[in-house]
Structures are given as C-alpha cells and as structure tokens.
C-alpha cells in the first residue's frame, strides 16, 4: 500500500470517527460485519431547540430525507428522526356535541389524533369506551361491530377513520411529512384475535364501534400520521329521550 493510500485510509477513519462522535448515536442496524448508526450529513441543525414557550427542530444543508424499506430492513434518512425510542400521541380531545338527534338526519362530528413512533417495530391504537349512554338510566345507543351505513331513523352510534361522503365527514390519514417517512394505517381487515378477526375502520360511509378494537396501526417504526376520527349517531322513534354522553380513550401501544 502506497504512502498516499495509507494516509487516505487514516483520514477516512478519522473522519468516520468524528462523524460518529457528533451523532450521539444509537445503533439501528447491525450484523457481524457492519453497523449503521444515525449520522447527520449536512451543515448543521438542532433536533430540539426549545425556549420556555416553544420547541423547534432546525436543520441546515440536509442532504437527503425520506425512508425506504423492504421485508428485511427499514431505513430512515432526514433530520426529523430521533435517536431514542419515541412515542408521541396527541389527541385533539374535548367535548364534541352531536347536537339534537333526529329521525331524518344522521348527526356527525370529527376530531383528529396524531401518532409518531420511532425505533420500534410498530404500534397499534385502540379505542376504549362505550357508545353514548343516557345518564344513569342504562340505555346505550346501539352499535354495530362491522361497518354499517347510517340510516336515518335507525338507532346507531359508530366511528371510522375514513373520508366519508354520506355524511360528509372525516378524512383519510395524512402522513407527515410524507409517505416516505410515515406509515400509519387505518385498520383494514385487521385480525384482533379473540373473535375479532376482520376489523375495518377505513370503510367509507361504514361506521362501527367495539371497545378494545384496534383502529389504526403501523407495522414499522413510523413518522407522524394524522388520523381523523369521525363519529355518527342516529336515533329511532323509540330511542329514549335525554342527554347522552360518552368518553372515549385512545390508547397507543408500541412494540420495541
């Protein structure tokens, strides 16, 4: 090996060493022969730049972003990645009023929730709760355990995570910043086990509700996905009068 080549090898080794120091890396992929760590190639940046009021992620000269995967590996590139196991779930919670129900119109409301899950084998989001019930008297709005088209005059409560047209409510999941980075899906023929083997919350105009169902998931580590949860209700002529209510909880369960 010539002197020039020796010098070049030492230099590359040194630069590689310096890059790893700067990354504060966590090993992502490895085999007996190689290992890929999180390294930033670019002019600079700061992942969590915070003031007392807000936080931001900053980057300069980022060379590439995106993700790729195959059955055997998954690769994320870009500044918006994290070097520690991460689960961020935010729910636009609060009270959503379906108003006064009627036998001629289907009432609907919607809200959103976001899930971001990094350095994991994926996640599931479950919905837990009951259909709206009449305070203290025991009547709970009827539900269906498979997607059902709302029918005015037929008592039903249901939810889904689809872009519905009748009623016009909801939206398909949004991958942030793009589908190269984020992979969240709405449950479609999802096998929950325990007798729930084909759960679909993505059927347009099809609503259902069964506490404990998985409504969304990702089979891999994923960037942020915004889901829109829509709820509908119809009353029949004999739906007991009164004020109905329920509190639904969304539970994200990542697997690392």
């Amino acid at each position: 090996m010539s002197r020039r080549r020796s010098v070049l090898c030492v230099a590359l080794l040194t630069l590689l060493s310096a890059g790893l120091i700067g990354s504060q890396a966590v090993a992502l992929t490895s085999s007996p022969h190689y290992e890929v760590n999180e390294v930033f190639f670019g002019s600079g940046g700061q992942l969590n730049a915070c003031s007392p009021s807000y936080c931001s992620k900053q980057s300069l000269g980022e060379l590439t972003i995106g993700g790729s995967s195959s059955p055997n590996y998954q690769l994320h590139a870009g500044f918006n990645t994290s070097d520690t196991p991460l689960l961020i779930m935010s729910v636009t919670g609060g009270t959503f009023d379906l108003g006064t129900l009627s036998t001629v119109t289907t009432a609907s409301v919607s809200t959103t929730f976001n899930v971001e899950d990094y350095l994991s084998d994926g996640y599931v989001v479950k919905v837990v709760g009951t259909a709206p019930d009449l305070n203290s008297v025991g009547h709970t709005l009827n539900t269906n355990t498979s997607p059902t088209t709302p029918t005015a005059g037929v008592e039903q409560f249901g939810i889904n995570l689809a872009a519905n047209t009748s009623p016009a409510v909801g939206a398909a999941p949004q991958q942030i910043p793009s589908s190269f980075f984020s992979f969240g899906k709405v449950a479609h023929n999802y096998n929950e086990g325990g007798g729930r083997s084909s759960i679909s919350y993505d059927t347009v105009n099809g609503f259902l509700f069964d506490s404990g169902d998985t409504i969304a998931y990702s089979n891999s580590s994923s960037g942020e996905t915004t889901y829109t949860l829509s709820a509908i209700a119809d009353q029949s002529g004999t739906t007991p009068a009164g004020e109905y209510g329920t509190s639904l909880s969304l539970i994200a369960i990542p697997t690392f």
Partner: protein, 448 residues
C-alpha cells in the same frame, strides 16, 4: 449491504463539498505524521461511542426483544368519571386513576432470573437520571395480577428490598414506591430461555392499581432483569413507551316525542304509525240508533300512541256517562262487571280480541289497566252490534270528569301501539226517552 453503501456515499459527498482535493491531500500528509495520535484518538472515540449506543446499560445486559406495554387507560391520572359525571370502573378505559398495565417481552438472555425492576421515567435510557412522570404513582400496586409464559416460579411484589439511591431511581420507601415496581421470584432455579415470550400484569383493580401521569405526553417504563436477589447483576434490559392523552367526549341529545291520536274508524298504522284522523263519533243502538231493554249494544273507538319517553306513558280517559238533558244512564260501576240487558248501564273496557286483521288492538308495550281489561264482543272484526248475552266485563268511573282514570300504561318507550276501547250500553224499560250522549277525552301522559 444497502445501508452501508448509503452511508459511505454520503460521506464521500461531504468530503467533496467541504474541501478541495489538493488541500485535502496536504492536510492528510500532515495527519500521517501524527498517525499515532490519530490512532489513539480514534480508539478513545470508539470507547465513547460504545458507551453511547449501549443505552447506558450494563455491558453484559442484552436488550429485551418485542417489548410492549399495554395500558388499560390513556386518560390522565386524575380522571375517574365520564362526560356524564358517572364513575368509571377501575381498569376501564375512562379511568386514569386506577389503571392496569401488561408488559410483554421476549427473554434475551438464557438465565436464572431472580428479580425484576420496572422504573417509570420521562426518558427511556437506563442508568441515567429518572424523572418520574408528573402525577404518576405505582405505590398502590399490591400484587402481580397476571404472569404468563414463564418457565417456573411465581413473581411477587418485593416489598422489602430498599431500592432508593444510586444506581436505582425508585422514590418512596418500599412497598410504597411511587415510580417503581420491584418483583422477586419464588423459584429462582428455573432457567428462562432466550426467545421465550412472557407477560406481567399489574393493577387494574379498585385497590390494586397504577395511577397514570396527570399531564399529557409520553412516558417510559425501563425494565431490567437480574440474576440475583439484590438487583445488582443485570441480565436483560429494555424500555417501553406509553402515552397519556386527553379523552374524546361525545355528547348528544334526544328530544321527547309523543304521537297520540284517537278515532272510531280503524286504519292500519303502516310503517310510520299513522295517526287516526276521523271525527271519533260513534253510535250505540240499533240501525236507527236506538237502545232497547232486550239487548246490550256495543261499539269501539281506538287510540294509537308512539313515544320515546324512557319510562313510557299512561293512557287515561275523562268523561261523564251517557246523559240526555237531566237524565242519564247509570255507570256500570268502578269494578269489572258483566253487562246485563234490561239494567241501565254504561261502561267501557279494552277489547283485546278486536284485532281487525292486524289493524285493531295491538299492544306491544302497553297493557290494559284493571278493571278495564275484559272487553270482548266475541268477534275479532265486528265494530258494533248487539247481543242479549254479551260477554266480557266493563267499568266506568264518572269521577273521571275531574280526575282522569288510567285505562292502560307502559313503562318503556312505545314504538306504535293501538288500543281498542269497547263501549256497552243497556237501558231498562223505564229509562226516559231522549237523545243520550257523552264526550270522552283520552289523555296520554308520558312518564319521565
């Protein structure tokens, strides 16, 4: 090796962008003179890297695989009621104060495990400072409620070992550790095999529970297994994440509805529970509308009701007996009485036999009220007629003019019920002649 290729290609781009080739070679020559120092520097760097990527765990600890934490509720730790204000049961989705947790993971290292420690922190990195999530407490965990997949022995809460102070992050003295769950095993001789999937469940009960953080956000549970009883020799390590969120409260109102009508001509209700719309007039008597002492004359009127009132409704009548000026035909009385031709009587009762091919009497939710349950003209279709020996029993209360009297009732919402009311009239040979009549008003009273 696609990932390696990506990394090296990117590195080469970085070099080209930052430094001209000639300048680079010049600096490399200088660097070669200091090769010894560089080797030393790289070695030191490698040591630093090794520390970082090991997540701070013991050098010999392997990472638990396929780790997950399933919580019974993502509600905040101060949430115990739903939007209606009703208390949510411990372990249910809407109760963040009394939750349950189930850990699932695969054993990474074949070993005899004797103790296991779970630390709840705001970051997942082992052997770093653990800040307990705000409001979180595991101090009320009194037992291991479930454990599956283990090769042997039984895990139980370790309430005697003190785990405060470095290297532990447990606050509170045992057994009231607020951010830790420590368990030990009754049979440490059993070997747990690498790859074995195991679970551990905690809380979820009224007095045995975990309280979620009281602020929204992500929190972590650090799981460490040990091969000794003193929580000193780490075997496997892994952290899992969970999150508390605000709840989605959905409310709706259903207004009370009551559809009630009366008539004397039967019509089918159809799918919409069609109301009666005729005048409601009816006649008791022969073809000339005259009563006689030899027969009991009868006729029917109908009422139809639909209501969503939770506790149903009652049907009442109000009116006088048959009168003509200052004369009247006596009420049959307030108790169920069979009609008697030749005796002045006026009465009524619900005729449960008057089905009129599906359009007459049809009670699903309602039931007739005694003594008005026995109307029966012996036919399912005849609306009016006479008989010298009419069957059934009837009653009438003239006090209903001031205090309406109940004739039928339901305690549940009524989809569409039709009632057939049968009236009977008898006169004696001394009943004064005249045009007798009365107006009977039916009242539906919903029960809230």
């Amino acid at each position: 090796m696609p990932s390696v290729i990506v990394m090296l290609e990117s590195l080469r781009l970085y070099i080209k962008a930052k430094m001209p080739k000639s300048k680079l070679l010049y600096r490399l020559k200088n660097l070669s003179r200091r090769a010894t120092y560089l080797v030393v520097a790289f070695s030191a760097t490698s040591i630093m890297i090794g520390t970082d990527i090991g997540l701070g765990a013991s050098a010999s600890a392997a990472q638990l695989q396929s780790r997950s934490l399933s919580v019974s509720s993502s509600a905040l730790g101060n949430v115990t009621t739903d939007v209606n204000g009703n208390t949510v049961a411990a372990g249910a989705g809407g109760n963040g104060q009394k939750t349950g947790e189930t850990f699932t993971f695969n054993i990474a290292t074949t070993s005899n495990l004797q103790t296991l420690l779970i630390e709840y922190c705001t970051n997942p990195i082992a052997n770093t400072t653990c800040t307990s999530p705000t409001g979180f407490t595991a101090a009320n965990v009194t037992s291991v409620v479930s454990q599956t997949g283990w090769s042997g022995g039984t895990w139980a809460i370790d309430s005697s070992t003190v785990l405060t102070g470095s290297p532990y992050n447990c606050s509170g003295s045992s057994p009231g550790r607020t951010n830790c769950i420590a368990i030990s095993r009754s049979d440490p001789s059993t070997t747990e095999t690498s790859g074995n999937t195991v679970t551990l469940g905690f809380g979820g009960g009224a007095s045995n529970y975990i309280t979620n953080p009281t602020t929204t956000g992500t929190w972590f549970a650090r799981i460490t297994t040990y091969s000794d009883t003193g929580y000193a020799t780490q075997v496997d390590y892994g952290s899992v994440a969970s999150s508390t969120t605000t709840q989605i409260n959905i409310t709706a109102k259903v207004q009370e509805t009551l559809n009630f009508s009366v008539g004397s001509t039967i019509t089918a209700p159809g799918g919409g529970c069609t109301a009666f719309s005729d005048s409601g007039a009816l006649t008791l008597g022969d073809s000339n509308g005259a009563l006689n002492a030899a027969n009991t004359f009868y006729n029917h009127s109908y009422f139809r009701i639909a209501t969503n009132d939770l506790h149903g409704a009652v049907i009442q009548y109000s009116g006088n007996t048959l009168t003509s000026g200052g004369n009247s035909i006596a009420s049959i009385g307030g108790s169920a009485t069979a009609p008697s031709a030749g005796t002045p009587q006026f009465g009524l009762a619900v005729d449960t036999h008057d089905t009129e091919s599906g359009s007459g009497y049809s009670f699903t939710s309602l039931s007739a009220t005694s003594p008005y349950t026995g109307g029966n003209d012996g036919s399912a279709t005849s609306q009016s007629g006479s008989s010298g020996s009419l069957g059934g029993t009837y009653a009438y209360n003239t006090g209903s003019t001031t205090s309406p009297v109940q004739i039928a009732s339901s305690t549940t919402p009524i989809t569409c019920d039709t009632g057939s009311v049968m009236y009977i009239a008898n006169i004696s040979n001394t009943t004064p002649s005249g045009l007798y009549g009365t107006t009977i008003t039916y009242i539906a009273v919903p029960t809230y």
